[in-house]
């Protein structure tokens, strides 16, 4: 076992891990932060997306020890300071951007990464950016709508489905 240290949602954390310990395992089992979900564990589905040094990364396909010293942000860090939902989370609720909710942590983290680089994306850009995030419930429509709304754009023309 080797000690690894990183910053998670602004808090310095450390723990003993094996070489093979994935970031997703370090977060969920080491830090008991189970908001990050593991769906496929083969880097297809994107439920495990977190931010590493500001960039979206599939935490099931990164080794904890390779991220020594990194700044990590997870879904637990997306709420406002007073505990209320952040803008993207609130938009998912307002526009019914989830059904079972399993993919939602990854969707929200990918959406946040997109809006950081592209504050007013087109619907097509949102759909392309979500290529690595799979949802088996919603058909994506309301997820896309929620992200468009979170970017401050008018979504009244996007029909509910």
């Amino acid at each position: 076992m080797t000690q690894v240290s990183m910053t998670v949602n602004g808090r310095a954390v450390s723990g003993d891990v094996e070489g093979r310990t994935l970031l997703s395992e370090f977060l969920r089992e080491g830090q008991r932060m189970t908001g990050t979900h593991v769906g496929c564990d083969t880097s297809q589905c994107g439920a495990c997306v977190v931010h590493v040094n500001g960039e979206a990364v599939k935490s099931c396909t990164a080794l904890a020890l390779d991220l020594e010293g990194a700044e990590v942000k997870t879904i637990e860090g997306m709420a406002n300071a007073d505990g209320s939902l952040g803008v993207i989370q609130q938009a998912f609720q307002d526009h019914h951007g989830l059904q079972c909710g399993f993919c939602t942590p990854g969707m929200v983290m990918s959406a946040a990464a997109l809006l950081k680089d592209n504050p007013k994306p087109s619907e097509q850009e949102v759909r392309e950016y979500l290529e690595g995030n799979i949802c088996r419930c919603t058909g994506y429509h309301n997820i896309v709508k929620a992200i468009m709304a979170a970017s401050g754009q008018d979504v009244s023309a996007i029909a509910a489905e």
Binding site: G19, T42, G132
Partner: protein, 263 residues
């Protein structure tokens, strides 16, 4: 995944030393290697991460006008930083995998793996790039050696890739709809002394140059020049996603589209 010792050197020399041990394996972004290890299709005693080596990071343009990319540079960085110098290459890099994969996967990892459906081998072969390792320079024409096989020796590291910049280039990728890998991908590069055409995804031998199309496009750089050719022969992959004939036809269609779209 079987456990291993993890090491993360900060210089190329340290990495080479670490890889000199018995049963040591280099780790790029891990977007292929880690899933492979999870399936126990690969295992190692020591995994040597190349992600902490500053001299293997980044994109620059050298005095000869070539775009030089450090071996541990991510696809997302290439998509962003090569855009002004070599838009065809940046566009190819920006379509590999998905955004999260592009933030981890590296050019050295992709070329070293030589997946028969990967995009970067087409970029390197189509551009006539030079692959620099810790010991030598290898021309792309001599680098790819069949599916998942390259000219790299045990423990040899891709430290940098140098791309000559063409007058015009374009990458056309016909994605397999589930995996999003290239069912067929064609990278076309127009240089002052001729055109190069590299095809990925199609052949059981991995990436290859389609010489008939190169000759046709060198005398007439247009979609029409490709229309008259017969589809490439060679050992086309045939599976449930597409027959060999289907892939061969796609190569021709994608080559024509790349020539039409090249800028």
């Amino acid at each position: 995944m079987y456990n291993f010792e993890f090491s993360k050197p900060s210089t190329i020399a340290e990495a080479v030393a670490a890889l000199g041990q018995e049963e040591a394996q280099a780790l790029g972004g891990g977007q292929t290697l880690l899933p492979t290890m999870k399936q126990r299709l690969a295992q190692t005693e020591t995994l040597v991460s190349l992600n902490g080596i500053a001299e293997m990071q980044g994109v620059c343009v050298n005095d000869a006008g070539q775009v030089c990319i450090g071996g541990a540079t991510t696809h997302a960085t290439v998509a962003r930083e090569a855009a002004a110098h070599y838009p065809g290459l940046a566009s190819l890099a920006g379509r590999i995998g998905d955004p999260a994969v592009r933030n981890r996967g590296t050019i050295g990892g992709s070329l070293g793996n030589n997946d028969p459906s990967a995009c970067y081998p087409a970029a390197a072969l189509g551009a006539g790039a030079t692959i620099l390792t810790n010991t030598r320079e290898i021309a792309a024409d001599d680098f790819f050696d069949g599916m998942f096989t390259t000219a790299l020796n045990e423990g040899e590291i891709i430290t940098e890739v140098k791309f000559p910049v063409p007058q015009a280039s374009n990458y056309q990728k016909f994605v397999q709809p589930a995996s999003r890998f290239a069912l067929v991908g064609v990278f076309v590069c127009k240089f002052s002394d001729g055109v190069r055409v590299a095809v990925t995804g199609a052949s059981a031998d991995g990436v290859f140059r389609w010489s008939e199309a190169e000759a046709a496009l060198s005398s007439d750089f247009s979609k029409g020049a490709v229309d008259g050719l017969s589809a490439p022969s060679g050992d086309m992959i045939s599976d449930l996603h597409g027959t060999a004939e289907y892939r061969a036809h796609l190569v021709k269609v994608m080559t024509g589209r790349a020539a039409a779209a090249a800028s």
